[in-house]
């Protein structure tokens, strides 16, 4: 069961502005019945002031899709076209008091229908689908859309992209491609991570924290993947004492494991680190 806010339930059970405006000045249709959700947005716009006088919607979809559409029409009424374009998918979700992560794509559908409607109003040609590179073939999601949604919503993981666009959510074969796109998107904008190097003079507390961090993040998951494990028993100056656990206890490769842990710690914490087993 989804954890919907009262606002979502309210707009789902009593949606506002349902229907289709006749002789609409702008029509935006997004999604299709096969993929599980679709939204048709129609707007009446005052040509002199560019102000949206009326907005109506028809939605095929789940509760959050219906609520997102209903809220969108509320947000649009009275705004100028330029003001309307400032409404982001996050604004739609916020107005609803938030949406479950997995349902964020419903708010994105609202934003997309809005863009499509305004493009229609301005007489801008739709981007021809075949010119876009489709990344997710199951849900017909283009690379352009993934990049756009990632930047607008600060998304950094494939899972987040799936929640917001559905891409990668069915057969999953495009997930590595999405990962590559995300790397590309964020490598430009993310400041390079400061690399903890041996050059830094660490306090004892920092050193202990760093050793714990390396063991937890890098060493233990690898050992656990093979059924083994280690425990950090003590740190005495530069001496790191660990105990083998699980499959590692009886593993004949124990010495090699110890050596590789030491190498990793030397690299990250400092050359002077020595690792021994108790």
């Amino acid at each position: 069961m989804w954890d919907y806010t009262e606002k979502v339930k309210e707009h789902f059970l009593h949606p506002r502005n349902v229907g289709e405006i006749e002789n609409a000045d702008a029509v935006g249709m997004i999604g299709n019945i096969v993929c599980g959700d679709a939204l048709k947005l129609t707007l009446k716009i005052d040509k002199e002031t560019n102000r949206i006088i009326d907005a109506k919607f028809q939605t095929f979809g789940c509760a959050s899709a219906i609520a997102s559409s209903s809220v969108l029409t509320e947000l649009l009424k009275g705004k100028t076209v330029d003001e309307a374009l400032q409404i982001s998918n996050q604004d739609i979700a916020n107005y609803l008091g938030g949406l479950p992560e997995e349902k964020m794509h419903c708010s994105v559908m609202g934003r997309e229908a809005l863009e499509a409607a305004i493009k229609d109003y301005k007489g801008e040609a739709e981007v021809i689908a075949s010119q876009e590179k489709i990344v997710c073939k199951c849900f017909n999601v283009s690379e352009e859309k993934i990049r756009k949604v990632a930047v607008e919503n600060h998304l950094t993981t494939v899972e987040e992209i799936t929640n917001f666009t559905k891409a990668g959510g069915a057969c999953g074969s495009c997930q590595s491609e999405i990962e590559a796109i995300l790397k590309d998107v964020w490598s430009i904008k993310e400041p390079p991570k400061p690399t903890p190097g041996p050059s830094k003079k660490l306090t004892n507390l920092q050193k202990i924290a760093l050793i714990q961090d390396v063991l937890e993040r890098e060493i233990r998951p690898r050992l656990q993947a093979d059924g083994g494990d280690i425990e950090l028993i003590d740190i005495d100056g530069n001496k790191v004492i660990v105990g083998f656990r699980a499959m590692c206890v009886s593993c004949p490769m124990g010495g090699v494991t110890l050596k590789s842990i030491e190498e990793k710690l030397k690299e990250v914490v400092g050359e002077e680190i020595v690792v021994s087993e108790r």
Binding site: F12, N32, I33, C35, L39, F60, C138, N140
Partner: protein, 396 residues
């Protein structure tokens, strides 16, 4: 608000008689059946009584029953045992419409190097037997086919298949979680080697299941440790829940015939009522060979989650094969395997009944459904007059 519960293929209410029988085994008789002292040892008899009750429901011998923690454990154990005891054979046959407990375990084995054939079903959800016989070869270690499908209720011809598999000396397993307690099952007539059943689908609590392993079938345990269940399933016996499962099976056996008739009458009334009062509705699955308690109906042009949440406003509980309710973004793998139109899958709703449903509850569903569907359709940009694509533009 009163709850009108029509989701009994998901889980069932624990029968009050079952709970009553279980209660003394928490605080009063809490011993370990393996103990040497009388206090613990006396429970052994109670566990064996439950085993006999489970066996009786499916026409098995008590020593052919192993208690497990759930249906999933039983399914995993059955498949693992079959491949462990046939180490030279690397082929597994199952269907596209199995429960994830079988489906995903087979996919797991496929990643380990096994060859897995997923058999198709036809548009009515019926198994393609010819495809099964074509897929069988010398390398086949196990064939695992569900007794009845959880989403549509369609019953597979397990007896017929079992006969052939026995002749071919292939281990046969059936996931009968949805069937046991709802329709008569006599394992002697089935020729299956291993059968899965689960407590919480037949008014026992969640967290207890069982496995029937035909005498003479080679077996290898999945959970390894102590000597419990004659070394076939380690772990201290979950006495209270085993007692509960035993009682639930006894109740099911006592009331089986009468319940089958009662449930199918109610189900048919519900189905007929929905078909008559709502336009553009169809039934998914073969209605001739079907569990008496299950109906799966598709409401075109509307989405399942929206239907369920509107029903929820009336306290009515059902489930859907729509993508939005599946936890993944893909709609029901069962309805897709049947080739049901995507538009109909998204609007599918399953009602599954139990002995606790009343006829007046059926009337209530029939009374509220037309306005819910009409409402949601008025919201929908699609309808009978619009051209709706039948395939996703990009996928096929």
């Amino acid at each position: 608000m009163k709850t009108l519960y029509f989701d009994n293929n998901a889980t069932t209410q624990v029968a009050p008689e079952v709970l009553e029988e279980m209660l003394p085994y928490f605080c009063e008789y809490y011993g370990n059946p393996s103990s040497m002292h009388f206090f613990g040892g006396q429970l052994h008899r109670k566990v064996e009584e439950a085993r006999a009750r489970v066996a009786s429901l499916i026409g098995a011998e008590p020593e052919e029953i192993i208690f497990t923690s759930c249906g999933t454990e039983s399914d995993n154990t059955a498949l693992m045992s079959a491949v462990e005891t046939n180490p030279t054979k690397k082929h597994i046959i199952t269907t596209k419409v199995e429960h994830p407990a079988v489906l995903n375990f087979c996919k797991h084995l496929a990643r380990k190097g096994y060859r897995v054939t997923f058999l198709p079903v036809d548009t009515q959800g019926r198994l393609d037997k010819e495809a099964l016989f074509r897929a069988l070869d010398e390398d086949t270690a196990v064939v695992s086919i569900m007794y009845a499908n959880n989403e549509t209720g369609v019953i597979f011809p397990i007896a017929e298949i079992g006969q052939i598999l026995r002749e071919r000396k292939v281990v046969s397993h059936t996931d009968a979680v949805q069937a046991v307690g709802k329709i008569p099952i006599r394992v002697k007539d089935l020729s299956v080697d291993i059968l899965t059943l689960s407590g919480h689908k037949l008014h026992a609590p969640k967290g207890i299941g069982a496995l029937y392993v035909r005498k003479g079938t080679r077996f290898y345990p999945y959970i390894i440790g102590g000597h419990q269940e004659r070394g076939r399933r380690a772990g201290t016996e979950n006495v209270a829940f085993i007692v509960g499962l035993g009682k639930a099976c006894e109740l099911a056996e006592q009331h089986l015939q009468q319940e089958t008739e009662y449930l199918s009458r109610l189900r048919d009334k519900l189905e007929k009522g929905l078909l008559e009062t709502c336009p553009d509705v169809s039934v998914n699955g073969d209605t001739a060979y079907r569990l008496p308690n299950t109906t799966n109906v598709s409401f075109e042009f509307v989405e399942g989650e929206a239907i369920l949440l509107r029903l929820d406003e009336y306290g009515i509980c059902a489930s859907s094969g729509s993508a939005c309710t599946s936890g993944s973004l893909e709609p029901s793998h069962v309805l897709r395997a049947m080739g049901v139109r995507n538009t109909a899958i998204h609007g599918s709703v399953r009602f599954s009944l139990s002995r606790y449903n009343k006829e007046s509850e059926i009337d209530q569903v029939i009374a509220v459904m037309p306005s819910i569907i009409k409402d949601l359709r008025s919201l929908s940009p699609f309808g009978r007059n619009q051209l709706t694509p039948n395939r996703c533009p990009a996928s096929s």
